[in-house]
């Protein structure tokens, strides 16, 4: 339906079109969205736990985690509130490298990302491996700020950005695909921006 009197004002350059998923617009800033107050997690208090169900597989403190191989990833990110940001530059530890350090293959097909504030989000394990996702520690070369998930956040850039859990403190392998915080509150179980899977019921 064409809206009377509305004309393309801020149409992105045409070469950008193919990088912007349907229903998204290009954003220059970096908006902040979250369900509650910003937790302030000190690196001394931070740890990261890999779990299979309730059972811990391996736990790293901040120093141990920073000793893992660091990888750079520059990616476009897509927030479900309809902004897309190009070329965000992150550095962190690939999920592959975390698994390698723990000496395991992924034990199940599903994963829940766990955060300090109780936030959870589910991601199929195969969307986290083979270089697709990392636990990011730096943004644009600097430590991530508290608003954006300090000291560590998940980065799964090919899914809507609520999947990239802030204030991350663990990954838990689950037997079934278990909906996380927003997935229980009306948001899509998978969240592919290119298929516009925003809300429950989007195909």
């Amino acid at each position: 339906m064409v809206t009377r009197g509305f004309f393309s004002g801020r149409k992105p350059p045409t070469d950008a079109d193919e990088r912007i998923p349907p229903g998204q617009y290009l954003e220059q800033g970096f908006p902040v969205l979250s369900a509650g107050p910003t937790p302030h997690v000190r690196t001394e208090d931070w740890s990261f736990t890999l779990k299979h169900g309730p059972r811990p597989i391996k736990k790293w403190n901040w120093t141990e985690f920073n000793a893992l191989p660091l990888t750079k990833m520059t990616r476009d990110i897509h927030c479900v509130t309809a902004w897309t940001k190009f070329d965000t530059a992150w550095q962190g530890v690939l999920v592959d490298d975390i698994l390698a350090d723990a000496g395991i293959e992924p034990p199940t097909a599903f994963t829940l990302a766990l955060s300090f504030d109780g936030y959870t989000t589910n991601v199929p394990t195969q969307d986290l491996t083979a270089g697709k996702a990392m636990v990011a520690l730096l943004y644009e070369g600097k430590p991530i700020t508290p608003d954006h998930g300090a000291p560590a956040r998940l980065l799964v850039p090919h899914l809507y950005f609520w999947k990239s859990a802030k204030w991350l403190n663990g990954l838990q392998f689950t037997e079934r695909d278990e909906p996380g915080f927003w997935e229980l509150r009306g948001y899509h179980i998978y969240g592919d921006p290119w298929r516009e899977q925003r809300y429950t019921g989007d195909s």
Partner: protein
Amino acid sequence: MSDGPAAQSPWQTVTITGIEKRTPRVTSFFLQPSRPFAYRAGQHVDVRLTAPDGYQARRSYSIASAPEAGETIELAIERLDDGEVSPFFHDIAAVGDEVELRGPLGGHFVWSDSDGGPLLLVGGGSGVVPLMAMIRHRAARKSTVPAALVFSARIWEEVIFRDELIGLDDRRDGFDLVLALTRELARRPTDYSRRVDTAMMEQSMLRLPAPARFAFVCGSNAFVSAAAQALIDAGVPAGLIRTERYGV
């Protein structure tokens, strides 16, 4: 609070049936859905505009009306001069026009009287909109759940829903309005002439007969960060605080 998944909610056409200026920068738009829907106080909708060449812009807007208000929903939209969608509403949209809408959306920033209280609401500027839906819902249900709204605006003239809020405050039925004007002197003895801070949160909580069971904070990102921190410093457990950030 029930958190079941929202039903499938595809786009629908809504007709603008009324336009009402609230403040110099905020105008309410009353929309009649072609397919009316039920919603909870605090939820939002997505609005989509389409240009002749197919270009689309979509934005989220909180619902200001109470779920009890009937089929027509009210949105209160602040004009951002260099924005894309809000100036369209302010400068172009007219009664009788149609836009596309999807919703209701969001299952976290919601309250109903059956959830109980006391309820502490903290809003900055247009961030008052979903809180207004909660306050109107409380009034429509004749609920006596104790509730306090701390509402920060720059000046008296920019207090959205001012007369209605003061009218509800005057009922003395357990709802308390606290205005925090950041660029003008307070006019009512109970109001403040400064930005929200820890002391203001402590004093506002004393207006409630018992510690808050729910705290809802909404506004710009900067406002929400500051207000949520002030609540925490005033002793509200972080786990009780729900936030809605309007972005940048």
